[in-house]
């Protein structure tokens, strides 16, 4: 089966190379048979990579320790779903997984559009095949997951070897979210390839009209949604597993996942300028290019070890391949843009600085500033070492100082932007739209200040969050009130109707509201508390309104790990409220010890307790308790963001009078003359 997997992978590479070459030949010679053949080869890549992935998973499930990758990342006692997730726990497997997800996307894009856009799709196929060729080359020749253990004897005959037990999965990855976090993040990273392919294809083929930008936007939303889920699950994993009491440490790998997300966010906003006004075409094309390149850079940072990170689970000298690929992509993008720059000329000009267009411009500028600041801080240790020959660190305090003001400004724009009209906003409209939300924000801030709220950033965040929330609710209310009056219906059903009439706009507002919740949750970190204490049974520690009583320490065991567990009773106002069981586990296969955090979560605060080991001086167990306010708002806000994105991707529901009439006319006699003239129907935006 190892030969089967390797062979499938090699065939996939050949199919991708063929799709690339035949696609170019088809475009140049304008022979349809070649472009169709190239497309079929592109579709075949998916099947072949799927076979390779399935065979590797089979090795994991059957504990085949002749396979080096399986022996390195699994063991017999590993639960089945972790064996499944072990596929992406190392360099070779995660690159194969990347290729597989990319092939799924490529298959979907090619298959769904097989009868559409005949001028555009051959170019799309070529770009996708080019990217797939790069990754499949890595899979076949640089980081193959199908290496078998063994050695050749003096006669040159190869003998298979086998270890009795594997090294086991990295304990940090043995957590349920790790089964879903990397796939979501990878779906985000790889998903940005599709908008990139469409944008580059439209530019290369000088595809007329704005259809390509609609397609690009939809695919970007899909990738952006997955990237958002991946980032949030990653933050939750860090919070629940790493045991340092936080969820975001500005680690290079975390930053790498944030970069394409930020530029993707910028694109999803600025694309509206192109769709509505035919403006910012160059900007949009470069945003899509940059987003793709940043997702490749993210992989480079994760995989190459160029920057040290606790999250970089698989490092090697693969960086030069990614740097070369990035350089090629940059040259191709620049060449395509330069040769076709007249194709991207704006149709309209900016009429007023106080308009929706200018707010999008600002929004994009601020998002790119945030992206640049994160990238700069992430790469600065490398730059500094290069220039000064001395290493420095760029840690969380730097990122917080630089990015928190930028993030707050973005939050402000989240509220301001939707209140401005396209082209020009009158002073009256400004006053009417801003008065109540702004007053609400100021009142909330004043009340918080009176009650002793003194953390300046948290205070600003509160004022802006209330302001943005009120603007969003006002937008829903204004629209729904008109519908409710017109249709004589209640306001809630009018909100539903309004939302479904323009899912993109109101889905966007839901996403904004989710982001507000996330911001409030993050602002809560200004009020974190923590206490650490050496504890024996019978001793207690106090934190906030809680008293934690240590009852005892015991051992728990299964085939995969041995665990020392603390049993803690938590009291509030003298009443027993809950039991918590933080653990410290020794994973038997890897002989690595990890913490298992105990968290009691509520909407107000999390009580987060870590069994931090034993004090080397006293030998006593050490309990570290954190009180983290509002953390749950981040996870809930993330869910709202994802739901909002899903809503924005739904097609609009319109009153399809015209469509209905056209249909009835075309059906002729089949339609009775008494058919009602107005019907609701589903139609795509």
């Amino acid at each position: 089966l190892d030969i089967f997997g390797s062979f499938a992978l090699l065939l996939a590479l050949l199919a991708a190379v063929y799709a690339f070459a035949a696609g170019i030949a088809g475009i140049v010679t304008r022979r349809t048979i070649l472009t169709k053949s190239a497309r079929n080869a592109g579709l075949a890549v998916f099947g072949l990579v799927t076979l390779a992935v399935a065979s590797l998973e089979y090795f994991f499930f059957t504990d085949n320790f002749t396979m080096a990758y399986v022996a390195e990342h699994s063991n017999r006692a590993l639960p089945l779903f972790y064996k499944f997730a072990a596929l992406w726990s190392g360099q070779e497997g995660s690159l194969l997984f990347w290729s597989w997800l990319l092939s799924i996307y490529a298959f979907s894009a090619l298959f769904l559009n097989r009868k559409k856009h005949p001028e555009l799709m051959p170019y799309v196929g070529v770009v996708l095949a080019g990217v797939q060729t790069f990754f499949l080359t890595l899979n076949n020749f640089v980081a193959t997951p199908f290496t078998v253990l063994g050695s050749a004897n003096s006669a040159g005959v190869f003998h298979l070897a086998r270890v009795a037990e594997g090294n086991g999965l990295n304990p940090l990855l043995q957590y349920p979210e790790m089964v879903i976090h990397p796939p979501m993040l990878y779906l985000g990273y790889t998903g940005f390839t599709i908008p990139f392919a469409f944008a580059l294809a439209a530019l290369l083929g000088r595809y007329p009209g704005e259809k390509w930008i609609h397609i690009t936007r939809r695919w970007t939303m899909v990738a952006w949604c997955f990237q958002s889920i991946g980032i949030l699950l990653g933050a939750h994993w860090a919070y629940a597993v790493l045991g340092w009491g936080g969820y975001w440490s500005w680690d290079p790998v975390e930053n790498a996942s944030l970069l394409p997300w930020i530029t993707g966010t910028a694109f999803l906003h600025s694309v509206m300028m192109q769709e509505k006004r035919g403006m910012m075409k160059v900007w949009n094309v470069w945003l899509v290019f940059t987003t793709f390149m940043l997702s490749i850079l993210g992989t480079l940072l994760t995989r190459s070890g160029v920057i040290s990170s606790v999250h970089a689970f698989a490092q090697s000298g693969i960086g030069s391949w990614f740097v070369s690929f990035l350089a090629i992509v940059l040259v191709v993008c620049f060449w395509a843009w330069w040769m076709n720059r007249d194709y991207l000329r704006s149709d309209n000009q900016l009429d007023s600085l106080v308009s929706r267009e200018s707010s999008f411009l600002f929004n994009n500028l601020v998002l790119l500033a945030a992206c640049f600041a994160v990238l700069w801080g992430t790469l600065f240790p490398v730059l500094s070492e290069w220039f000064t020959r001395s290493k420095i660190s760029v840690g969380p305090p730097f990122f917080n100082k630089v990015n928190v003001p930028i993030a707050l400004f973005l939050l402000l724009l989240t509220g301001v932007g939707p209140l401005l009209a396209w082209r020009k906003t009158s002073f009256d409209a400004l006053r009417r739209n801003f008065a109540w939300p702004l007053s609400g924000g100021v009142v909330a801030g004043t009340i918080a200040f009176i009650f002793g709220f003194r953390e300046i950033y948290a205070l600003i965040c509160l004022v802006l969050s209330v302001f943005v929330t009120l603007t969003i609710f006002a937008e829903f209310y204004r629209g729904a009130r008109v519908i409710a009056n017109r249709d004589r219906t209640n306001i809630l059903s009018a909100v539903g109707d309004l939302t479904m009439r323009n899912t993109r706009r109101y889905g966007g507002y839901v996403v904004h509201f989710g982001m507000v919740l996330v911001f409030i949750g993050i602002a809560g970190s200004a009020f974190n508390k923590d206490v650490q204490m050496d504890m024996s049974p019978g001793q207690s520690l106090a934190i906030g309104p809680y008293t934690i009583l240590c009852q005892n320490f015991d051992q728990v065991a299964n085939d995969n790990y041995q665990s020392e567990r603390a049993t803690l009773e938590v009291f509030r106002n003298g009443h027993s409220e809950m039991m918590l069981y933080p653990q410290r586990r020794l994973y038997l296969a890897s002989q690595v010890t990890e913490t298992m955090v105990a968290v009691q979560s509520s909407a107000i605060r999390d009580l987060y307790v870590v069994y931090a080991g034993r004090n080397p001086d006293t030998g006593k167990p050490v309990i570290h308790a954190y009180l983290n306010p509002l953390v749950k708002w981040i996870w809930f806000g993330g869910v709202v963001v994802v739901l909002g994105t899903g809503l924005a991707m739904l097609p609009n529901r319109r009153t399809a009078i015209v469509l209905k009439a056209v249909k009835e006319k075309s059906w002729g006699d089949a339609v009775p003359a008494t058919a009602p003239p107005v019907r609701r129907a589903e139609s795509h935006d």
Binding site: S390, I392, L586, T593, T595, H624
Partner: protein, 154 residues
């Protein structure tokens, strides 16, 4: 005996790993934010709780001693830099080339904003020079503006 081996290993691992000590004084906590743990975890000193971290416990003990001696913040940080190198600082120092770490994220967006401003000005100039469309009565224009403000569908 063999069956008890993993348990013994667990206890050894837990003892060897040790636990980072918490800094209870506000000053020690604030200073801990300015230092990185040098174990390679990429976390600030007071946040590092990696099992088996050979540095954080020792570093926090050193800091407690220096704080107890009532050394100034600068002196304490300098002592750590002397012992562990400049990577121990959680922020780039504001001198020499490293000054750029702080300046560039501020200057670059300002330059970008200036460039965008220039582009917007050019757009607006072009818009003003563009030939006017068909004549529209002020009443119609005012009504259209009013309708546009109330427009629900963008």
């Amino acid at each position: 005996m063999i069956r008890r081996l993993p348990l013994a290993l667990l206890l050894v691992a837990i003892f060897l790993g040790g636990a980072a000590r918490a800094q209870e004084t506000p000053r020690a906590k604030a200073l801990g934010q300015k230092l990185m743990c040098v174990c390679g975890c990429n976390q600030i000193l007071t946040a590092c709780n990696h099992v088996g971290c050979q540095y954080s416990h020792k570093m926090l003990q050193e800091m407690d001693q220096l704080v107890a001696r009532n050394d100034s913040d600068d002196l304490i940080l300098q002592a750590f830099v002397q012992e562990y190198g400049p990577t121990v600082l959680s922020e780039p120092p504001t001198k020499g080339f490293n000054w750029a770490a702080w300046v560039v994220p501020i200057v670059a967006p300002l330059i970008a904003m200036f460039l965008v401003w220039q582009v917007v000005r050019r757009w607006r100039t072009r818009a003003q020079l563009a030939p006017a469309g068909p004549g529209v009565s002020p009443e119609l224009l005012a009504r259209a503006q009013h309708e546009a403000d109330k427009d629900l569908d963008e």
